[in-house]
């Protein structure tokens, strides 16, 4: 059990560590003060979402290679968990923004990118829902997923950096990695990110197994 599921325990341990130490660790005294601790949780949602959507993209590619329904199952559940992380990221960001910028939503490329991502993947779910045939649904869904992932990456990764008009923290560093982070925060930040990503895979794993079990019951 431990041999196979060690990463689940690791995820729990890392997140427990991040939640406890995240509230005690020294943070630099900046304008945003204690709200900086949101970094351990809000940014984790973004990391988790990215990992999940990338997984969905890879499994869609694999589906088009093998036409194995199980690959499609992983792809759709990865996107589902990615959507969950995305919405949690939006909510934690809105709480933070309400304190820092005085309003839960401001016009900013990064916020727009996150919102558009949600629209794109909700549309993916609607597209899948509107096709009855299982194989056709998997195939069309995979094509859309690959196509949409590419365009969305351009929107969130390239465009904000080119436009350079974001007020969101972390715009001067390479994609989402806060390289200029205080050393004291780093020892919480990186384990927390790994923990969130592993948690995402854990949830995805459970959902895929439920779906497979349901399928076996039906037939």
């Amino acid at each position: 059990m431990l041999k196979r599921d060690w990463w689940k325990l690791l995820s729990g341990a890392l997140l427990l560590y991040a939640i406890i130490v995240g509230f005690f660790v020294d943070i630099p005294d900046t304008m945003i003060q204690e709200t900086m601790r949101n970094l351990f949780y809000h940014v984790g949602m973004w990391f988790g979402m990215m990992a999940m959507l990338l997984t969905g993209f890879i499994f869609s590619l694999r589906y088009l290679q093998k036409f194995d329904e199980d690959e499609d199952l992983v792809a759709v559940e990865a996107v589902n968990v990615g959507l969950m992380f995305g919405f949690l990221g939006l909510f934690t960001g809105m709480i933070w923004a309400n304190f820092t910028w005085g309003s839960p939503w401001v016009k900013d490329p990064k916020l727009n990118g996150a919102a558009v991502g949600m629209f794109i993947y909700l549309a993916y779910m609607i597209l899948r829902g509107s096709i009855d045939d299982v194989h056709k649904r998997a195939k069309v869904g995979a094509v859309y997923n690959i196509f949409a992932f590419f365009l969305w990456i351009v929107f969130v990764m390239v465009l904000p950096r080119l436009a350079g008009d974001s007020i969101h923290p972390g715009k001067d560093s390479p994609p989402v990695l806060p390289m200029h982070l205080e050393p004291s925060m780093r020892i919480v930040f990186y384990p927390a990110m790994v923990g969130w990503i592993l948690l995402g895979f854990w949830i995805m794993n459970i959902r895929v197994r439920i779906r497979k079990a349901q399928k076996n019951i039906e037939y």
Partner: protein, 219 residues
């Protein structure tokens, strides 16, 4: 071989359009009346900024309306016939090429009507025309692909809007950035990044369409 097929297929698209003139006339009327409605609604409130936003929003709606028919105009039997005589790559490239012609004509017409009704706000006309051309190519390639995806599902007319609006945003945001620059000054500097990004998006979308369309085409 591919080139010959594309040439024939584009010719077929043109002939089909000329045979069913009411479709083309419908799009033209849609374009003119939308511009007129916004002209009446915005009467005295037209600044360079609103001019730019209105222009691209109208062009987006016209494009979605014009291109959504791409795979719905002909019936399944006809598609089966094309399937047996032409390669899927030739079919999608021909559709993109034809829609590019259509969009180039429609965008120039839209520009003309904007000049007529709302006055000229464009300072750098060569840059604006380049943007129109790149925009036509982008709109036609992305929307052709989305139309192909939507045509595989039921309720495809409403699906077309849901799928295309979020997915077209990376392109539209870049286009609006460049065209805003064309509206404000003669200066070309600082735009090379955006123009390269537009070319990259267009190139990549066409490459993706080339690779992914065969999966949609084969039932």
């Amino acid at each position: 071989m591919l080139y010959r097929e594309i040439k024939f297929l584009v010719g077929k698209e043109v002939m089909l359009e000329l045979k069913q003139k009411y479709v083309l006339n419908g799009i033209l009327l849609y374009l003119v009346s939308t511009v007129f409605v916004t002209y009446l609604a915005f009467e005295d409130a037209i600044t360079a900024e609103t001019w730019n936003s209105l222009f691209w929003i109208i062009l987006l709606f016209v494009a979605v309306n014009g291109i959504s028919k791409s795979f719905l105009q002909e019936n399944a039997a006809r598609h089966l016939y094309y399937y047996t005589i032409a390669s899927p790559q030739a079919i999608v490239l021909a559709k993109i090429l034809y829609n590019l012609f259509l969009m180039a004509i429609l965008s120039v017409l839209a520009f003309g009507f904007f000049l007529l009704l709302m006055g000229n706000q464009v300072v750098n006309i060569p840059l604006f025309l380049v943007t129109l051309l790149l925009g036509s190519l982008g709109l036609s390639s992305v929307l052709t692909m989305v139309a192909a995806i939507a045509s595989r599902a039921s309720h495809n007319f409403s699906l077309m809007a849901i799928l295309s609006f979020p997915i077209i945003l990376p392109l539209l945001a870049t286009l609006m950035k460049v065209s805003r620059a064309a509206l404000s000054s003669m200066d070309w500097s600082g735009l090379s990044g955006f123009l390269i990004l537009l070319l990259t998006i267009n190139g990549a979308v066409i490459a993706l369409a080339y690779l992914l369309f065969p999966y949609l085409w084969k039932d």
